[in-house]
Amino acid sequence: MRWLVNVGLLCGKELRSLVHDRVLLGLIVFAFTAGVLLVANGVKVEVSNATIAFIDEDHSALSRRMRDAVLPPYFKAAVLVDRAQALQGMDRGDYIFVVDIPPRFEADVLAGRTPAVQLRVDATAMTQAGLGTEYLNEILLAEVDDMLHAPAVVEQIPFQAASRIRFNPNSESSWFTSVMQIVTNITILSIVLVGAAVIREREHGTLEHLLVMPVSASEIAVAKIVTNGLVIFVGAMLSLWLVVHVWLGVPLAGSVTLFGACALLYLFSATALGIMLATVAPTMPQFGLLVVPVYAVAYLLSGAATPVESMPRLMQVVVRFLPTTQFVNLSQAILYRGAGLGAIMLPLLTVTVTGIVFLAFALSRFRSMLARQE
């Protein structure tokens, strides 16, 4: 009971401290609004707006038709260049694809000599290169077939394949990136806000002052977790509802309540990690440098940047123990696929257990952290 009262009192204090820093509040609002919008509207995770150039040595009606067939949203309008410009452009990163149509191409096609079109691909553009090549193959073939009035290849197959992409039928990138950005914001904010709050109290001597009073380390830590967690929670949920759902029009398939509950658990885990890092780094500049690789690695391995399924086998096993990865996993399950509690038990368990481990470690170091001489 006493414990709860103290946590409550300390929460009030934390909230006042947080509200006090206007620049920080501004940054939080920015992260959950403009930050989410920018990423959602700007980033395309699949082949989209890919840049393409044509070297046309045929100058025929067919080569023109092929060029005109390359269309948005997959590709930007094709640019006509000579060979030197094409190579330079690829070096500069201006073109990802260069289609090279040889001389007498149309004549060869009509004569049934099966001429070859060379397609140069910048293979460093991993997200575009593989699929883009497939798409271009289809587009160019279809155009030639069309000119020859031949039935398309697909139509010659004795069955039909009806592919249905569930949950995001048009593969809208913004559905994915907006929610993933919220998750990333939650991660960074939880680690930084809570951890820095601990170090700040230590540097100002207020932590020491609290520990002389009948207040336990767990009360101090939990108050920080609860207050900062709640502020981030409110920001994230508002952002999910107003920015993602209302503004961007992303449908939320599953239960927002369930997602909220999971987010609370994840906040506990991430804020506990923040406190743990704060007990490891004695000063603010050290803490700043320590958190960067932590949140950057957590983000890159979370599945929000690249699919976990694409990682090497060993890493796929390792990342299963990271709370961030599991939270991304269950966010996708709940918000897109509308999965229920039963499907997300394991990720939920991971998030909770890691949080408890982080917090236990942090509390065990709380006092020895004060004993360190500056």
Partner: protein, 925 residues
């Protein structure tokens, strides 16, 4: 009431300090109220008055570190309101701010600290070395040139601070409460030192503010202030004559308006009687070590219930450490400590309820108001809300805090803040009060009031009080005192006993005698260090700096002074250095070896209604593909839906009943390919692979199928730059970009805002150095560190990760250095903009991570971006460096391809620094 011009101005004196009509406000609080003052040059001037009357503000204005709000201040002929005049004047002045060693850098040695100031004022190497040696000799610091400033006692810190102030031989020396919190021996030495230095240079003007009235008596001119106004400004002798008093303490009281005079009759202390029972505090052979350093060594004492026990000793002698052990904050290395006969254990709430503690530094919340702070304290001591509110009101009255009940403690002067801390410590009516230098920096009247409380608590409430102090008159009020020095107790007894034992006239003299004995004993062990011998590296750097110093009229030496200091601090901070170098490598190795876009082993399940050899053949097609991985088949549509919804399978095949039959009949049956679209990138790939597998299966069906030859053209893809199509080759250059934007920015992001929080930024305000020099100096060491980090990243990428560097290392390095310049510049810009270190860390994280990951070509090529995101990408250096990094690593390009990128990175670096330069002001408000 306002000060009068001196009566007997001599003929044409040199211009002194002329202050006319100066008013200064902090928000609603008026610190100075229409002050007009004329002070003569070439004298010593004492500035006295209680806390919060505007002494520090006035000194700040004279020193030029505060922005003038109204009125004029002319110092030695220079108009402080005029920027050029002020800058021309700054080299002639020296300012030592309030607070023990506040303008010193704790990890720098004594020599390095003074050397930094000498460089700031543009002294050449020979003059510097000679001057520093002389100052160290004069101050008695000569044996410790290499000791870190953070490990010095308070008295020594102030001596170092004084050396720093005097190193450039100023015409005007401004000392803001220099002896506050310093033991009497050090205080005596400090003033002797100032007198000596003045004797050498009689023309030097010295202004000192002090809370010790007896100290002010040694100054020839006296300015007394009260409530933002000047009570008197005259020769000290005249003041005494005019008020018909013998001491300044009395004179000051006589000068106060009648209503503000303290009550007559000093403090009467009823004699102490022991109420019996076990001793309140008992320490036996207490020892505490920090590593190899013994802070407290074999300390024993017993304090009876209700006793006032004083703890005297210089700063850093172990007083605070002993007190912290008694509160349970620090663990005991050996020995025992008992409160009320019970061993102290960590986390024992029962004992904590009985203790009130007040730490040396202010340790209440600056974000809360005075009232809120007291309320929090009361509630945490488990006082019910209603009662707590009553007690807070009571406490506001008894500690005279009502006037400032609703303001933040930041705005309050030191003395009032200390009063607030005592109020907080007493709020739970503790049985033991442990007070660590509660009255440091508190004016005499407030101190008396403070002691009234203590005496009442002790004698009426039988509260045991364990207090440390530097004031001898306070020590004399204690029932017993203990003298401590370098971790050892020198003597314990009643004040009278100690005086008698030493045969000294006063307690102060007795204390000084004890200290001198102890010093003599230790000094004999310390061999005087040889004169500071510069290392070879040091000599080389100095020569280089001297050569470049000529360029730009001494612009570089000042920037170099900042850079050098920052570099030394960085080199001493091993942990930060490690994080800064290892962090990027971990990021690189983990990210480059695990981020991948190769989609393989997609789990799929089948709902086969047909169950013929034909349908099984079709499924075999998927089984045979490396892209797919078969899971257990499902029995019905519901199960299929569940498998996809729960993320069990990413793809499912739905083969209709009669598939084989319909195909045979040419009815072209439809196979359902259901794909999980939660991750669009995966979905698109899975669809393409599935289409491919199905097309491949079709070719095996024979008969009326299109043969390969039937295709009218072939498309021959050639993958450039990354023939094997391996993610690691494509990702590594990008991850290096990511590491170089995230970490160097964080390195500098705390630079300025931290100095503002700590207070050492005042060195910039008070020095003739410009903001530009300061920023360049702060940036340089981090550019060097980040460049080293860049080389390590490239080395690890090539050697450990096996990513070939196909292009020019030179081209990559030019880009790397320019990029690092931009990143550190951006960090400094963020640092000048934000108001707290927390905001600096979060701001840097968000502002760098979002554009670097999304809009700079790390995961998605920058050329595919459109609209706002394209602008964000182009407006951020990472996108430009990504082109260089990718071009050099994978495309084999050289410098010729990157002129535009170099230019843009250079522009970013320059504009960030320019913006930071414009945002950072060179004076306080």
């Amino acid at each position: 009431m306002t000060g009068q011009a001196p009566h007997n101005a001599r003929s044409a004196p040199p211009p002194g300090i002329a202050i006319t009509g100066v008013t200064h406000r902090y928000g609603a609080v008026t610190a100075l109220d229409d002050v007009t003052l004329d002070l003569p040059a070439g004298t010593t001037i004492g500035l006295v008055g209680p806390d919060g009357v505007g002494k520090s503000t006035l000194l700040g204005l004279i020193a030029g570190v505060r922005r003038l709000q109204s009125g004029t201040v002319r110092v030695l002929g220079a108009d402080m309101g005029d920027r050029h005049a002020r800058e021309g004047f700054l080299p002639r002045t020296a300012f030592m701010p309030q607070g023990l060693g506040r303008n010193l850098y704790p990890t720098l040695s004594v020599w390095e600290n003074i050397d930094f100031f000498a460089r700031l004022f543009g002294m050449d190497a020979r003059a510097r070395d000679a001057r520093i040696q002389r100052l160290l000799d004069a101050t008695g610091l000569a044996p410790f040139p290499d000791r870190a400033a953070g490990h010095l006692s308070g008295g020594m810190k102030q001596k170092v601070s004084l050396c720093c102030a005097l190193v450039h031989d100023p015409d005007l020396l401004i000392l803001d409460e220099p002896t506050t919190g310093v033991d009497p021996l050090s205080r005596q030495q400090f003033w002797t030192l100032v007198d000596q230095l003045r004797a050498e240079r009689p023309s030097m003007t010295v202004i000192v503010s002090t809370a010790y009235m007896e100290e002010a008596e040694r100054f020839s001119w006296l300015v007394a202030m009260d409530s933002g106004r000047v009570l008197v400004s005259d020769r000290t002798q005249h003041v005494l004559e005019r008020t018909h008093t013998k001491s300044l303490e009395e004179a000051y009281i006589a000068l106060l308006p009648a209503g503000r005079r303290p009550q007559e009759g000093g403090l009467a202390i009823p004699p102490y009687t022991n109420p019996g029972g076990p001793p309140a505090i008992e320490a036996r052979h207490l020892t505490r070590r920090f590593g190899s350093f013994t802070a407290v060594s074999d300390v024993s004492f017993t304090i009876s219930r209700g006793e006032i026990f004083g703890f005297l000793g210089s700063n850093g002698c172990g007083k605070s450490t002993t007190m912290k052990m008694l509160t349970g904050l620090l663990d005991v290395t050996s020995g025992t400590a008992e409160l009320f006969g019970e061993q102290i254990t960590a986390g024992d709430m029962k004992t904590r309820m009985r203790i009130g503690y007040m730490s040396q530094a202010f340790s209440l919340y600056e974000e809360l108001t005075v009232r809120q702070n007291l309320m929090l304290q009361a509630r945490l001591y488990r006082i019910p809300a209603a009662k707590a509110a009553r007690m807070v009101e009571q406490s506001l009255d008894s500690f005279e805090l009502r006037d400032c009940a609703d303001v933040s403690p930041v705005a309050l002067p030191l003395g009032i803040r200390q009063r607030l801390q005592l109020a907080a410590a007493c709020i739970n009516n503790p049985e033991i009060l442990i007070l660590d230098e509660p009255t440091s920096g508190v004016d005499p009247a407030a101190r008396d009031m403070f002691w009234c409380h203590l005496i009442r608590l002790s004698r009426e409430g039988h509260v045991t009080i364990f207090v440390s102090t530097h004031f001898m008159n306070e020590a004399a009020r204690c029932d017993r005192i203990s003298l401590m020095h370098r971790g050892h107790v020198l003597a314990v007894g009643t004040p009278a006993e100690l005086v008698k034992k030493r045969g000294a006239p006063t307690l102060e003299a007795a204390f000084i005698a004890y200290l001198q004995d102890a010093e003599a004993a230790t000094d004999a062990q310390v061999h005087p260090a040889p004169p500071h011998a510069p290392t070879r590296w040091h000599a080389l750097v100095t020569r280089l700096a001297a050569r470049f110093g000529g360029v730009g009229g001494g612009w570089l030496p000042r920037a170099w002074a900042f850079a050098r200091r920052e570099a030394v601090e960085l080199l001493r901070d091993r942990l930060r250095l490690t994080f800064a170098l290892v962090g990027p490598l971990i990021l690189l190795v983990v990210a480059a070896s695990s981020i991948s876009f190769d989609v393989e082993g997609v789990g799929f399940t089948v709902l086969d209604h047909d169950r013929t050899t034909i349908s099984r053949d079709l499924i075999d097609g998927f089984r045979g593909s490396a892209y797919f991985h078969e899971l257990a088949p499902v029995a019905d549509a519901d199960a299929l839906d569940r498998a996809i919804r729960n993320g069990h399978a990413q793809m499912a095949l739905d083969i209709p009943a009669g598939f084989a039959r319909d195909m045979e009949a040419g009815r072209r049956p439809e196979i359902g390919v259901i794909i999980d679209g939660a991750v669009p990138f995966l979905a698109a790939n899975v669809r393409a692979y599935a289409t491919g597998v199905l097309a491949g299966y079709a070719t095996t069906l024979g008969r009326e199928l299109p043969r390969q030859a039937a295709l009218p053209i072939t498309v021959e893809p050639r993958f450039s730059y990354n023939q094997e199509f391996r993610s690691i080759y494509a990702m590594t250059p990008g991850v290096i970009m990511l590491a170089l934007i995230l970490i160097p920015t964080m390195l500098t992001a705390l630079g300025v805002v931290r100095e503002k929080e700590v207070g050492s930024i005042v060195n910039l305000y008070a020095s003739p150095a410009s903001v530009g020099q300061y920023l360049m100096g702060k940036q340089a060491p981090y550019v060097a560190l980040a460049t080293l980090s860049y080389f390590m990243l490239v080395l690890v990428a090539v050697v450990v990760l096996g990513v070939p560097l196909k292009g020019s290392l030179l081209a990559l390095t030019i880009g790397g250095v320019l990029f690092v310049l931009s990143a550190t510049g951006l960090g400094l810009l963020i640092s000048t903009f934000v108001s707290s270190q927390v905001a600096a860390i979060f701001g840097t994280s968000i502002l760098c991570l979002i554009p670097a990951v999304n809009f700079s070509g790390l995961l998605y090529p920058a050329s595919t971006l459109t609209g706002a995101s394209r602008l964000v990408g182009l407006g951020f250096p990472a996108a430009w460096y990504q082109l260089i990094s990718l071009g050099c690593f994978t495309k084999g390009l050289g410098t010729g391809s990157f002129w535009l990128m170099y230019l843009m990175l250079g522009l970013f670096a320059a504009s960030y620094m320019l913006a930071a330069r414009l945002l950072l002001k060179k004076q306080e408000a």
